[in-house]
Symmetry: C2
């Protein structure tokens, strides 16, 4: 990568752009309308009680006092979890992929990556475009600013894995459009996103508010809390056999972020339902779960069309149902799949691994010297 120097942009000898030349006459100074620069009305500081999850009237530009101190804690926690994909070695993975994985295992690995790359760009766009603007308390927007960035960091991670291993980027990125079983999950998510991105969408309207709550539930609870949580498992299954350990470690860090996103989302939903005295329609929720299960079943059938040692499509879907029940309990709605069992007890164990490794001691030299930036 060529070095980026800010003073690349300090170009005193560059000719002005042809379409932005000086018009000497028009350059004469103008009379400034000073009305906008005049006194603001003397307003009292905001009250925390006036803040709301959505539809709040309190000044959005004032961080304190907090109404949702837990949101600020999520922000601080997320910052303490900071990591980047460059800190994890991928050399052994390159060897594993080309020399140790079976064709069925390569199929699993590539398609999980293809699904995740598209999913995380979508997750970023959902928070950035459909959610953040609707949150009317700055402490909520601030956690979501971090969340938007983390989704971008995950996209970088997949890109880093794809590049390290030498896969065809263009083909991997396009796979979600040509493989129906990957496309199905993305299409369900896009449908939710489109519903709340309509320009006439108005959260003062109860039907729209319910639509927004459902969409938020879908992304936080199902998309991030079930599909993502469960989506890393096939690669963890390889990791348990000593394969693709670098990629798996990357995914463990992503999973830690996603668990926080899901936890934050569940907290927001619970508060939103109380603040707005809103009920999630059980019949609509039922449809949501059933669609999610059908999409996950099709997806599992494709990525695991041949089982790999110790892991198959049935286990994948059974685990989805078990996680879905947990998320439902966390939100306080009915379990969608009563009686689903924990068929992969090692998954939570894998997730629970405390990351004792201190990244900041082991980080690579290039990263350490990142502070030496030449700027103007």
């Amino acid at each position: 990568m060529s070095a980026l120097r800010f003073d690349d942009w300090d170009l005193p000898s560059a000719a002005p752009q042809a379409n932005a030349t000086v018009d000497a006459e028009k350059q004469a100074k103008t009379e400034v309308d000073r009305s906008i620069l005049q006194a603001a009305p003397a307003l009292a500081p905001i009250n925390a009680a006036d803040k709301r999850i959505v539809n709040g009237k309190a000044d959005i530009n004032q961080l304190a006092p907090f109404k949702y101190p837990w949101a600020w804690e999520f922000f601080l926690k997320a910052n303490r979890n900071h990591w980047t994909p460059l800190e994890i070695g991928m050399a052994q993975d390159v060897h594993d992929y080309h020399h140790k994985l079976s064709a069925a295992e390569r199929h699993v690995f590539e398609n999980v990556l293809a699904y995740l790359t598209t999913s995380d760009i979508l997750a970023m766009r959902n928070i950035g475009l459909a959610v953040m603007e609707k949150m009317s308390a700055p402490e909520l927007q601030i956690y979501q600013a971090r969340q938007v960035y983390e989704e971008a960091l995950h996209t970088w991670t997949y890109q880093h894995c794809i590049e390290s291993i030498g896969l065809d980027q263009q083909e991997i990125y396009n796979r979600y459009r040509v493989v129906p079983e990957i496309h199905g999950k993305i299409a369900l998510a896009n449908r939710r996103l489109e519903k709340v991105l309509r320009s006439d969408f108005d959260l003062e309207d109860r039907a729209n508010l319910h639509e927004f709550a459902l969409s938020y539930f879908f992304f936080a609870v199902i998309f991030e809390g079930c599909w993502f949580y469960n989506g890393f498992t096939p690669v963890f299954a390889l990791q348990r056999r000593g394969l693709m350990k670098g990629a798996a470690e990357q995914l463990q860090y992503i999973m830690r972020d996603e668990v926080l996103h899901c936890a934050f989302g569940i907290r927001v939903i619970r508060e939103l339902l109380i603040e707005e005295n809103l009920t999630l329609d059980p019949a609509t929720l039922r449809e949501l779960w059933d669609e999610a299960e059908a999409a996950e079943t099709a997806y599992a059938g494709y990525i695991l069309r041949e089982p790999v040692l110790g892991y198959n499509a049935e286990l994948h879907v059974a685990q989805f149902r078990f996680i879905a029940n947990r998320r439902a309990r966390q939100v306080g709605v009915a379990e969608p799949f009563p009686g689903a069992e924990n068929v992969l007890p090692w998954l939570d164990e894998q997730a629970n691994l405390r990351k004792e490794k201190n990244f900041f001691e082991t980080r690579v030299t290039e990263y350490q010297t990142g502070g030496a930036l030449a700027w103007e």
Copy 2:
């Protein structure tokens, strides 16, 4: 701060929320409409040439191939610049503020913080709400996801300074509403933001496209590139005399981020003008500069109503004009204030300081152990 554990949210014994109870009948599984899960049309991978800054038609979910590889470099560079406010000691600043600063110096310091806190929340909202959605190439959105986060990180930094020194948060955050000279700058920015947030805004329309380019120019070039760049100077003036060195170091890191934001923005504007064959109307630009200068002059008059050693309002405004000319040259438009001189040569010197300190070796213990997160 209480420890945040994800399993706080795993509440198996919690009663379901009253407004989200189970309706046994409705819980019966539904018939899933499988049409959305069916085959996607077989589409070819995207071509980089089809990407556009705005109004692009290429699939937004596919990162590679890049059309704007420089945007990806900005993203990587920004990640290498990562820092957090907890890494910089503030103990001496607490002493300085309460025992060494004169009343005039405290006035400068507090009002600079009050202006910056509000400005950075607004900067975050501008990118998150008004800009990111309009960028139609994922590599542009991804840098802006990092940018949105950095603005939130800056807000955290001001909050950390305010809290460390023991200022009244509520009063500081509200100051922009009751001090006309601070309010003026924020009001100008809000007016720009509102113009491009209209629900009927359409970038296929040439007049709207010009409005968007102007707004983007305002935020990247004036708001971040001039007002922010110049806005840290009063605190650097204290730093040069050995005062408030912790806060000043925080601002140096923020300034490094802001310089990258401005550089990225200028690059986007230049490409946008070429791609869209668009000219920024010189008369409108003239008004923009003159309003910005009037607002900066009023602001400088307030924060520096008494000069502090080696620094006064006239120098502040003269420096604004000098920086404005530099930014104009960088974009390729006419210098707004021909002949403006570099009255504070030490500012660029201060900004040019290479940060040789390796944060990752000196970071505090709390941050180092942040990796040990208990999760479900």
